[in-house]
Symmetry: C2
Subunit: 266 residues, 2 copies
DNA sequence: CAGACCATTCTGGTATACCGAACTATTACA
DNA sequence: TGTAATAGTTCGGTATACCAGAATGGTCTG
């Protein structure tokens, strides 16, 4: 859906004429660029904006009712995070949603697994009391995850619970930079996971076991084991992902899609 | 130097009035935001813009001769990479050069070391011929580095040579995402290194040895050893850095600096 | 009927004016 | 003299108009 689809409810239908921040946003202290950033992010992750599809500034502008300036900022941000890419040489650049390829998926999972490994090893190096409390919390989250898996909960809930688990140990012991890196990487892996859902669903019991291994290593204060366990969780996911990608094909090529045709008067 | 220093040569003195890209840039395909981005980056790394100092959009505009739009983009980019930070609550935000603190330095080195460890282990997993060729090149670079160190070459050259070494094995085997991450992290560690130069200078012989260990592990195809060696190189640097930071004090606090005083007419 | 030409349009980059929040220093008033 | 009101100023956010490169599709010419 090239972002200008008329069906979706426009958040601010014709909110031109200087509203400065935006009522919703101002209340929470979130500016417009953040708002549109998250809107686009959600559309990309969910696949409403499919991999490889074009994302034209002006289309987003028409869709959101904002001006080009905040939209541009949001797009630049997405671009820097790798969710959107600029194709074509200077003077004829176009933005597309970053395609999902086997190589890229492998790398995303590899890097994310490695960073989480670092986070896990730091968590396992916490003082005993904090560490054990964290482990308790992790096991609790994992039980919830496991229960939801057995109950065949909706995908969205499964993703959310899985993410909660990972987020919890990453944010428990890591500094702000590692947390930020993890936050910016997460949407990318989630994109792969959601598109190739079948892998995740097959793998839930494995994932539950691997989560428990992480919690156990943190509980024992074994940094090296925690790191290995976290990395392994991602590796096994990556392994299945790779298979599914070759089976189902990659999504969204890097070739230049035709631009929206120029309509003439006559 | 708050960016508006009049002494420095302005690249485009009064190039207002729509020049579109900019002659220099257009030729190479580099747009203005990239240009000002690198200019600011260099000023921050070199310390011309000291940690904690303010970076006001309009000051940069006055300095560069560009309009606010590209400058804004460049600043956003720097902000996302963590070289510039926004302090103050919404409605009164100001940008400052990210301060250098002990905790942050430790984390930067830790994360960068970990990522390079991953890169090194991938390099060691290359096919034998590529791997050996890479090792040869690394040893050669390290000899150059060592020679420059003994000859007490200027700092800038030492930094450049050290970076070349690391860059070489990172880019040899890693995918684009890891390379990009490494590229965006590097300026941050360099900032610490340049500010607390003494550590690096003391440590040069150690670093040379550690570099050789990395090259040897890659040569042998020992991924685990390569990873450990790369991480150790950063750990030993981080250790010294921490000492020097406590000795010399941190640079640039997070407190709100007074704004430039409002000059009244009367 | 084929190929060159050209107008129209899309697209991202750039310049600039305005907004509103907040800070500062002066001024007004007690 | 002390304190509160106030006007000038700073500063990031926003809207919008213009630019130039390039692709598209129709038209014109041989």
């Amino acid at each position: 859906m090239p972002a200008s689809a008329p069906g979706r409810a426009k958040p601010r239908p014709h909110a031109k004429k200087r509203l400065s921040p935006d009522a919703r946003a101002a209340a929470v202290g979130i500016d417009n660029v953040t708002t549109v950033y998250y809107e686009l992010l959600a559309s990309i992750i969910s696949g409403q904006l499919p991999p490889g599809s074009r994302v034209a500034e002006r289309a987003v502008v028409a869709h959101t009712g904002l001006s080009r300036t905040p939209v541009r900022s949001a797009l630049h941000r997405l671009q820097q995070e790798g969710l959107v890419a600029s194709v074509g040489r200077a003077g004829d650049q176009r933005l597309i949603v970053t395609p999902l390829t086997g190589d890229d998926g492998r790398e995303v999972f590899l890097v994310e697994g490695h960073l989480e490994g670092l986070a896990a090893s730091e968590a396992a190096a916490l003082p005993a009391d904090q560490r054990k409390q964290l482990a308790r919390r992790l096991r609790e989250l994992n039980r919830e995850f496991s229960a939801a898996a057995r109950a065949k909960a909706p995908q969205a809930r499964l993703f959310a619970l899985d993410f909660r688990f990972h987020e919890t140990f990453v944010e428990a012991a890591s500094g702000p930079r590692l947390v930020a890196l993890h936050r910016s990487l997460r949407p990318q892996s989630e994109r792969y996971a959601r598109l190739y859902v079948s892998v995740l669903l097959d793998q839930l019991p494995t994932s539950v076991k691997e989560h428990n291994a992480i919690a156990a290593a943190i509980d024992k204060g074994n940094s090296a084991a925690a790191q290995r366990a976290a990395e392994k969780n991602w590796q096994s996911a990556a392994g299945r992902l790779a298979k599914v990608i070759v089976a189902q094909g990659e999504r969204g090529g890097w070739y230049l899609q035709p631009r929206t045709p120029a309509r003439h008067k006559s």
